[in-house]
């Protein structure tokens, strides 16, 4: 069965067609070529021809030209559009013309780096030139490091290694920094929010070190389609950046179909399970021989879908090995094998988490099935983009879950097709982030009195550090004099990098089969859990929490497990509040009229409680067990807003819950722009009656441990935020809520939008003259 036949059947089968809520056809896009630039090194031209490339796409030529003109640039292109050549051409060209040239490649993850190195090395091999590339990451053995420092033309690493291993030891990298000509920053859309703000500061440090060695490298950045790629790249790099977004790569016609599973219990409004719906859909595609990628929102879902699809394949007499899973936690060798299988066609279908959404080369697939809305428009298009073949039809299917957000999306397709993808925000001058990198920068090189770091010379920060004995002023320069190694005290990512190793003890020789990040471990590898790996079931016999090891045994059972984690928020200290203090003073800080607010330190506790045993294929509950694991705690900062007694008096608890959720959603919707952060930097907890405030309360907490000051700014600028949120809600054309304003109606209730609007209007109503300095 071809994809065309499948689509035809989908449209004409009455039962299936009734699930379709949108059918969107994207026309084919022809290729647009440009000749090889005249000054491109002849060996490179020959190498490209040898690899079957006779001309460049227009965007590749434009990138080369911009690089040749000495400009910083950001290339925005969809997946599989020949993005790699956009930076590989200028870099190799320069190295061929001047062999002392060095380049530094930064990838957000190790996996991406490994993939790009393969491609780069293939092209280098075709030139026959003695150009060396090296990967420098946590896995690089110590003896190899010395050779890399001395000899690598292209050093491939990630921001974390640059931060802790390369910059603080820059004298060992003399060769690299003296001749550094290009810095390639791949996938810059990754560097958003707090993480992006950290990376921007690491780059500031990099530029300083380069200046010391007399080099001034150019940046070639790439980005997925986001709302503000140029602005984002400029903020990240700290300099004007040329935008290259005129994609010349061809694409075949594409169909995007939104599907809503049928209602199975009208009284309760329960829809058929998304995973089962996806299994049926993808199963048919796989059975029809259509190369398919399935995206799941969680690792468990990805593994379940792998299990189901392999089962279907086996039952129809096919080789189950042609269906594979893919997610974080697989061993690198396993991942490489799956990627290769996809490229070469030996793997026909893969069920993945968003790990494959990124630029890893897996060739071109005919169909993508999204098991649920990935959460952002940008991600959705990235995943949809995985289906796409030159000159041939491709299709993407988004199957909704019963989540309010999904339900909104499938019933309002214009939201997805009409809106531009989310913008990325960073705030490199965030004082806490800046201060931590200032210490690292000083460790790397003394700072002259008039030298800026960030927007200006950070005199006040330096005086503060001097008072703590961390820096010393010798009269002309600031020196780092503390004993500690500052880069080790600053983590770029809020998530811990610790892992729990999963060890299979079925065979006499135990072996490591994968790993689970520490935060997810209590829910995935608690004792009694069924841990799914490559679609195979493993029973967790023992979890040695202290040693970070889970011992599992292969089993064959008809159920899987799902853990429940109870989340609790407790206020530890209140740094400032608008409530309780009498008189006009409260409005001096960011009070918002009818809303009371405070900020301070909080502890979020995650306690795994029980796990359910759910039958495979039907997902019915067949038992449960207790989880005996210590709770984990996130100490961070939060801002919280509570309703005064008069507001929404007499409303039901459900309605209050909806109003609070709507209020929180609206504030979170405007926060990224106002605070220059990523939506994922903040989390939300709603309490209809908070033990701390005694009133209906919304907590907005920072996900970065300890916080980076977002909560405090939320509090300080609450009146501005509330005004922006009020505008947003008032101007949103939806009737009862949507993901862009207060959240979908299923989440906030039918009155959610109206209640939130009222609260926000109250909050921003000018107070009587004399009571508020900001009125």
């Amino acid at each position: 069965m071809t994809l065309e036949q499948f689509l035809d059947r989908l449209r004409h089968d009455a039962r299936l067609a009734s699930h379709i809520t949108a059918w969107h056809e994207l026309p084919a896009r022809p290729a647009r070529y440009a000749p090889f630039p005249e000054d491109l090194h002849p060996r490179l031209v020959a190498a490209l021809r040898r690899r079957g490339i006779t001309a460049l796409y227009t965007h590749q030529a434009a990138a080369y030209r911009a690089a040749a003109e000495g400009r910083h640039l950001v290339v925005v292109t969809p997946t599989a559009s020949g993005k790699t050549l956009c930076y590989t051409l200028p870099v190799l060209d320069r190295i061929l013309k001047a062999p002392e040239t060095r380049a530094l490649y930064l990838f957000p993850t190790k996996a991406l780096g490994a993939d790009q190195v393969d491609e780069l090395q293939a092209l280098i091999a075709a030139t026959g030139a003695a150009i060396t590339t090296f990967t420098y990451d946590g896995d690089t053995p110590a003896p190899a490091r010395r050779a890399i420092r001395a000899a690598g033309h292209v050093v491939v690493t990630n921001p974390d290694m640059l931060h802790t291993a390369i910059l603080p030891h820059h004298t060992k990298w003399l060769r690299l920094f003296e001749s550094l000509r290009y810095v390639v920053v791949d996938e810059v859309h990754h560097y958003r929010g707090v993480f992006g703000s950290h990376v921007a500061n690491v780059l500031r440090r990099l530029w300083r070190v380069c200046r010391f060695y007399g080099s001034a490298p150019q940046v070639i950045a790439t980005s997925a389609t986001i709302g503000n790629p140029q602005e984002h790249a400029e903020r990240l790099v700290g300099a004007p950046v040329t935008l290259i977004d005129d994609n010349g790569a061809p694409a075949g016609p594409r169909v995007v179909v939104l599907l809503n599973p049928p209602v199975v219990n009208r009284a309760l409004g329960i829809r058929r399970d998304t995973l089962l719906e996806v299994r049926d859909l993808a199963g048919e595609l796989v059975a029809g021989g259509v190369p398919t990628i399935v995206f799941a929102r969680s690792r468990l879902a990805a593994e379940l879908l792998t299990t189901y699809l392999r089962d279907l394949a086996a039952r129809s007499g096919e080789d189950a090995e042609r269906v594979r899973g893919y997610r974080a936690g697989y061993l690198p060798s396993e991942r490489r094998a799956i990627e290769r299988g996809l490229r070469e066609g030996t793997v026909r279908a893969v069920a993945s988490t968003n790990a494959l959404e990124l630029g890893i080369d897996i060739g071109q697939l005919a169909a993508a099935v999204l098991a649920g809305y990935p959460g952002t428009i940008a991600s959705t298009w990235q995943q949809i983009g995985r289906a796409g073949r030159t000159g041939e039809l491709a299709a993407a299917f988004l199957v909704a879950t019963s989540d309010p957000l999904d339900q909104y999306l499938v019933t309002h397709p214009a939201y997805l097709f009409g809106r531009s993808p989310e913008a990325a925000w960073i705030h490199p001058d965030n004082p806490l982030v800046l201060a931590s990198h200032l210490r690292c920068a000083l460790f790397e090189l003394p700072l002259a009195h008039d030298e800026p770091f960030g927007p200006e010379p950070p005199l006040r920060l330096l005086q503060h550090l001097a008072a703590q004995g961390i820096v010393h002023d010798d009269g002309t320069r600031w020196h780092y004099v503390a004993e500690t190694f500052p880069a080790e005290e600053v983590s770029l990512r809020s998530a811990s990098t610790e892992n729990v190793v999963v060890i299979d003890t079925t065979d006499p020789q135990p072996r490591v089969i994968g790993e689970v990040d520490l935060a997810s471990a209590p829910g995935l590898v608690h004792e009694g859990a069924i841990y799914l790996h490559l679609g195979r079931q493993h029973h967790v016999d023992r979890l040695d929490w202290e040693a970070r090891k889970a011992y599992v045994r292969r089993v064959d059972v008809d159920y899987y497990t799902q853990a429940e984690i109870a989340v609790r928020l407790a206020v530890l200290t209140e740094a400032a509040t608008t409530g309780r203090a009498p008189g006009p003073a409260p409005h001096a800080a960011g009070s918002a009229g009818a809303l009371q607010a405070a900020h301070g330190e909080v502890a979020l506790t995650f306690r795994p409680t029980v796990y359910k045993k759910l039958k495979l294929f039907t997902h019915e509950n067949v038992g449960w067990g207790k989880i005996a694991l210590p709770e984990t705690t996130l100490h961070t900062t939060a801002a919280w807003v509570w309703l005064p007694p008069a507001a929404l008096r007499g409303r039901s608890a459900d309605r209050l819950q909806g109003a609070l959720a709507a209020l929180g959603h609206a504030l979170l919707a405007v926060a990224p722009l106002a605070l220059m952060c990523d939506p994922h930097d903040l989390g939300r907890v709603v309490e209809v009656r908070s033990p701390h405030t005694g009133a209906p309360t919304v907590y907005l907490y920072e996900r970065a441990p300890g916080g980076v000051g977002l909560a405090e700014r939320l509090f300080r600028f609450l009146d501005r935020l509330a005004a922006a949120a009020a505008d947003l809600v008032a101007q949103c054309p939806c009737t009862a809520g949507c993901p862009s304003c207060v959240g979908p109606p299923l989440e906030v209730g039918e009155h959610g939008k109206a209640d939130a609007r009222l609260l926000l209007q109250e909050a921003t109503r000018p107070l009587p003259v004399g009571t508020s300095p900001r009125a």
Partner: protein, 446 residues
């Protein structure tokens, strides 16, 4: 460059902030406002701990580095983590000038004059033939190289010869002392007792405090600490040199006589004039050091000494194997046979290992294939008893050897090897007793 004049107004704001007036036998040069050099001369005959320095240095030279003009170097820094943000604020250099030990301490009194300090230091280092440090390979020298690069003053110290005593100390003292830091070693083997010494970890804070306040009083213990470290370095160099270079496993030190190795794992050494002291030594490590210098006989003595007391099976195994290798190389077949025979009866090493080694011996050195086969069979049985079933590669190896020997043995029956018939000496090899020297030469010539 003269001794500092107290009337010199340059850095003197208060008495405490000024360079300290020179103590007796000491001069202070103020090269730049932020760079001073303190020089002190000590009689070389004086003892540091149990050891006289001049004698120590005489013996030390045999250990290297080559060259007449040696400098012992020790630095004090603002941190131990290394990296670009760690400053070297004090570099002590010691050298032997005839009857006098000269110690020069280059001190960075103000960060602005780091360049001047590094230049001064480089000038002094240029005159040296070789450098001796403790952990200089990994710490002091890379750190100095970084400072030179950052201050843009040439390439820094690149001594033609460098001896890092830490590598030596690790071999000699890690096991007996449970550590090999200079502090541990000097207390245990040099007999140095420091009075009121500032611990190393407290030093960076003292300097930062000085930078903040300008008060020098807190720094005095740092200078003393650095001086003590240098003297310990010289004494340690001497002791290590004596241990490593004396081929018989006895110590001639301070010219005052010879004392045979004392109790288990110690060397008794005579010190300058005082009573002999027992120095704990890891004879395995000493053997490795001697072997590394090509002193096979000295290494053999050490390994034998180590085997007298070694109870840890893994460590005993590597010692026995190292000794066996040297015996084989020297053609000391009797000793080789006796070694494994004794190990087999002692029962510390796995029996299968000793029997396997004996099988190897009889197959290739002793040339008695039947005995070799018996040993190989015994090894397989012993491996079974030792419950080594899980170790598949081991069993496979043992079985392969047995099969090969069995094939060879049956081959002898049918057609004895040509050269054996010609020599008529196989009986000597096949004799049941220990190999006689006559048999050995017969076997070797065959």
């Amino acid at each position: 460059m003269t001794g500092v004049d107290l009337a010199d107004p340059i850095p003197a704001r208060t008495a405490d902030r000024a360079p300290r007036p020179p103590a007796q036998g000491e001069t202070v040069e103020v090269v730049a406002p932020g760079y001073e050099v303190r020089t002190r001369h000590l009689p070389a005959a004086q003892c540091h701990g149990d050891w006289p320095l001049d004698a120590a240095v005489r013996v030390a030279r045999t250990l290297g580095p080559p060259g007449e003009r040696l400098l012992w170097l020790d630095t004090e820094t603002t941190g131990l983590a290394g990296g670009t943000g760690t400053y070297v604020f004090l570099v002590g250099l010691a050298r032997l000038d005839g009857e006098v030990v000269t110690v020069r301490q280059h001190f960075l009194a103000g960060l602005r004059d780091e360049r001047a300090m590094l230049e001064g230091l480089a000038a002094e280092l240029r005159d040296a033939d070789g450098l001796v440090t403790f952990n200089g390979t990994r710490f002091d020298l890379p750190l100095l190289a970084t400072r030179y690069l950052l201050a843009r003053v040439g390439r820094g110290p690149t001594p033609s010869a460098h001896l890092d005593l830490m590598a030596v100390a690790r071999r000699l003292w890690y096991r007996p002392l449970g550590g090999f830091s200079l502090a541990t070693v000097e207390r245990a083997v040099l007999g140095v007792r420091r009075q009121g010494d500032l611990p190393g970890w407290a030093i960076p804070a003292r300097y930062v405090e000085y930078l903040r306040t300008g008060h020098r009083a807190g720094l005095e213990p740092v200078f003393t600490h650095n001086l003590q470290d240098l003297l310990s370095l010289m004494a340690l160099h001497g002791l290590a040199g004596a241990l490593v270079t004396d081929g018989t496993g006895t110590i001639r030190f301070g010219g005052a006589g010879i004392v045979r190795a004392g109790g288990a794992g110690t060397v008794r050494a005579a010190t300058g004039g005082s009573a002999a002291v027992a120095v704990p030594v890891d004879f395995w490590g000493l053997g490795r050091l001697r072997e590394g210098r090509g002193d096979a006989a000295g290494a053999v003595a050490c390994y034998r000494e180590a085997l007298r007391v070694e109870q840890d099976p893994a460590l005993r195994r590597r010692t026995a194997c190292a000794l066996a290798r040297l015996y084989r190389r020297a053609g000391a077949l009797e000793a080789l046979h006796a070694l494994w025979q004794r190990e087999a009866t002692l029962g510390i090493l796995p029996r299968w290992l000793c029997l396997e080694r004996l099988a190897v011996f009889w197959e290739w050195s002793g040339r008695d294939l039947r005995r070799a086969l018996r040993c190989a069979e015994g090894a397989i049985a012993a491996a079974g008893e030792a419950d080594a079933h899980g170790d598949a590669p081991l069993l496979e190896r043992l079985h392969r050897r047995r099969e090969r020997l069995a094939r060879k043995v049956s081959g002898i029956g049918r057609q004895p090897p040509l050269e054996w018939r010609a020599q008529e000496a196989p009986r000597a090899c096949a004799s049941s007793g220990p190999v006689s020297s006559g048999a050995r030469s017969a076997c070797r010539s065959s």
